[in-house]
Subunit: 262 residues, 2 copies
DNA sequence: TCAAAAGTGTTCGCTATACACCCATGG
DNA sequence: CCATGGGTGTATAGCGAACACTTTTGA
């Protein structure tokens, strides 16, 4: 949209503001002018939201922040915010996550973009949603965001906007994803026992596995290294600790297409 | 953003244009003014693109349109366009598809949103991408869009923007999806033979199946109805025609979680 | 006449599943 | 002292993978 596409009144304003018209020529939209931005066609606002999954022995949880302002003041929502012009959506999601919760997520993946026209009462907002997996133990108590809290996935408070849809979609994506990739380890401490790993899978997939079959299946994948902690394991009550061997996984992924198949 | 957030010059323009300032009060963005739209913060443009897969005996193809304007004039691109304020992204994708190719796709699914900051040289554009499955036989020759053409997936022309990324992502999503849902049938005529179905799966997954094992596996799913065409099938050379039983599939999906597992 | 297409069988081996056993700890 | 948690063993059924046979068409 060259200057000819601009309303005459606006052109006058530009002149009065000492803005060189030539900067507009050849640009189709997003003219920065008058303490704001002007576009020929309406633009929806773009945000990212992040569903952060955490896990401990009590089960699978998600991290929510309490809204301090209207709309939905007092409701809980997934951390997120507006996309800046110089960042990708993943960068945005990571930045917002850091700002609002102090977290760095190792694993983060885009899973869906929500576009219903009435998602936000203020204006048209389109949200690119991510889910992240973090080790709850890494989250220091007394966070930057005092209003951020973990909620068990089967006992969520009322959520703002359409965040309940976002949550359900995230849960579904997590379940599908874990069938093909060993992402569950991101939710555990670096060293974990086999029963911890099993409980995690059962929590995510909402099923139960036979303990012994799970044990062998996991070991047969050859992705776990035994941690040599020097403990003389003459007692069956002291569980062996394992560590996920990511390098080995990446290598296997290169070769034959890999399937977890749970 | 109430009027106090507006640059004084803009306020003057509004007054001169007889626009009631009260319409702005309480709105945070998207003020319609001066032959365009004004926002306090910069907004990316939102588009949808659609990767349309078609299939016939020659293999798997995608539908591309030739760009008539810069940038990338003369390159090929997936059909798509800008999101309107009153439609969801899926509605947008379907509308654009209809406009540019005359097609109605039965199956259409969002698979990824592309957000790199330099995707379009003109302005920041974020694209919500869909893939669609259509029966190529349904596409009448001599389309509305004379510049739309099918290309085999393994012999694509140079693509505009980052559409090669979009294509690869779409291909990957299609492959993953077909493991869990019987979406392949959307690409075939209503009635098809077993070897047609097998060829389709082989084209999508880029593998080869044993004819007889494929045959039995498909039948064991109990999702195919035999078409009674009255032909006395004393000859093995006349293949049985099948029809996909969608109702049965939906029913099965309700009950036990369903897996195609190819 | 013979290669190709299409329907039907059969065998083999892997693995998912189910269940049994042992052993040391700790309440 | 015995229920609990943790490591290991084993039998079976089902399914995926590989391959054999038959029939008839059409080049």
């Amino acid at each position: 949209m060259g200057p000819e596409g601009i309303h005459p009144d606006l052109r006058d304003v530009l002149r009065k503001s000492n803005i060189d018209l030539s900067v507009i020529t050849g640009k189709t939209a997003g003219v920065e002018v008058m303490n704001g931005y002007w576009y020929k066609y309406p633009h929806a606002a773009l945000t990212t939201d992040c569903v952060i999954f955490g896990y401990d022995r009590t089960g699978l949880s998600v991290l929510l922040v309490e809204r301090g302002i209207e709309p939905y003041k007092g409701s809980w929502a997934f951390p997120g915010g507006f996309l800046r012009m110089d960042e990708t959506s993943e960068e945005c999601a990571r930045r917002e996550l850091k700002e609002e919760t102090g977290l760095d997520a190792a694993f983060m993946e885009q899973f869906h973009t929500f576009t219903k026209t009435d998602r936000d009462p203020r204006e048209r907002v389109v949200t690119i949603a991510y889910f992240a997996l973090v080790n709850k133990a890494d989250v220091k108590g007394g966070d930057d965001a005092a209003d951020a809290r973990w909620f068990p996935v089967d006992d969520l408070p009322p959520l703002a906007f359409d965040h309940i849809d976002i949550f359900q979609h995230a849960m579904q994506s997590l379940r599908e994803k874990i069938h093909f990739e060993p992402i569950g380890f991101e939710l555990l401490p670096e060293e974990f026992t086999m029963s911890e790993l099993q409980s995690l899978y059962e929590a995510i997939l909402d099923v139960e596995f036979d303990r012994r079959n799970f044990y062998r299946k996991m070991l047969s994948l050859e992705l776990l290294d035994v941690v040599d902690d020097g403990i003389v394991r003459n007692s069956p009550r002291i569980a062996i600790k394992y560590r996920f061997n990511k390098a080995k996984y990446d290598e296997m992924k290169e070769k034959h297409k890999f399937r977890l198949e749970f």
